[in-house]
Symmetry: C2
Subunit: 167 residues, 2 copies
């Protein structure tokens, strides 16, 4: 029970690295495919880093956002994470069912909730943040000079792709 032998949030089976002898056609030239391969690798790395908890990248991000913004509205959580209202609801349901977060009435709007971490959630987050930050730092370190450049490039890419110039 304490060690989930069968992790629940299901990461990909394996890496997407090039298989020798296989012709990838135009995929090899696409920035988008390179991004997907890297994303796949980092997902697997995230699951390795957090293997002892039943945590996925969206769940982790939600914990951080609620911790840093106590009283956060469900809707704003969804907006920050690119989710529909219903997705934010389900994520919040999971966090509260686990006892990591709780909904309290929002003082200024009777329709809305304010989200807060519980003491259990806060304690969990301390450990998660340490594990995730350690792995991320190791990656940045392995990249050397390229690390900061790559991160800046990704941030620029996200902005550019969100507001395409040609459309």
């Amino acid at each position: 029970m304490s060690k989930p032998d069968t992790p629940k949030a299901m990461p990909p089976e394996g890496p997407m690295l090039p298989v020798p002898g296989l012709d990838y056609g135009l995929l090899d030239g696409l920035l988008g495919y390179a991004l997907r391969r890297a994303q796949n690798a980092l997902y697997l790395d995230f699951y390795r880093a957090t293997a002892e908890w039943d945590i996925s990248p969206p769940r982790f991000a939600a914990l951080v956002l609620i911790a840093r913004n106590p009283g956060l509205r469900q809707g704003l959580l969804g907006q920050a994470m690119g989710l529909h209202r219903s997705g934010a609801l389900r994520l919040t349901d999971w966090l509260t069912a686990q006892g990591y977060a709780e909904r309290r009435d929002a003082p200024d709007d009777a329709r809305a909730w304010g989200l807060y971490l519980t003491p259990v959630g806060k304690r969990l987050l301390v450990k998660l943040e340490a594990a995730v930050a350690t792995h991320d730092r190791a990656l940045i370190q392995a990249l050397g000079d390229q690390g900061p450049t790559l991160k800046a490039g990704l941030e620029r890419l996200a902005r550019i792709a969100t507001a395409p110039p040609t459309d």
Copy 2:
């Protein structure tokens, strides 16, 4: 009317760009979170580029791989895409149900299938490749000098994250 008002494969609702006034804590410093934001933006861009077809990034990649490697085994397709056997099966089921691909007996192994695109699948892929390549080129162009650097950085990152140094 020919435009499917109800899209099919479901992309995220919106972008993950920073929401002003929200504190992202350590997420802002993580390479992995920058990558996720960029991936989210490119996913949305992919769905814009292919809006008139019921296509997702994995489906597109599978079409390309089968086209360039006629007779590809289901298992090898899964390996290339980082999927479990059962995932490759479902992907192949979908492609054959749409009439884009077909399974034929593999000559050298009676347990296995060889996968082939149908004429319909080939015609679709021509259009898809044009749409996807156009959008990808626009992104690379918008990045200027940074484009090739970023792509090379992502490829290096995928390798590094797949074989972590500390393990």
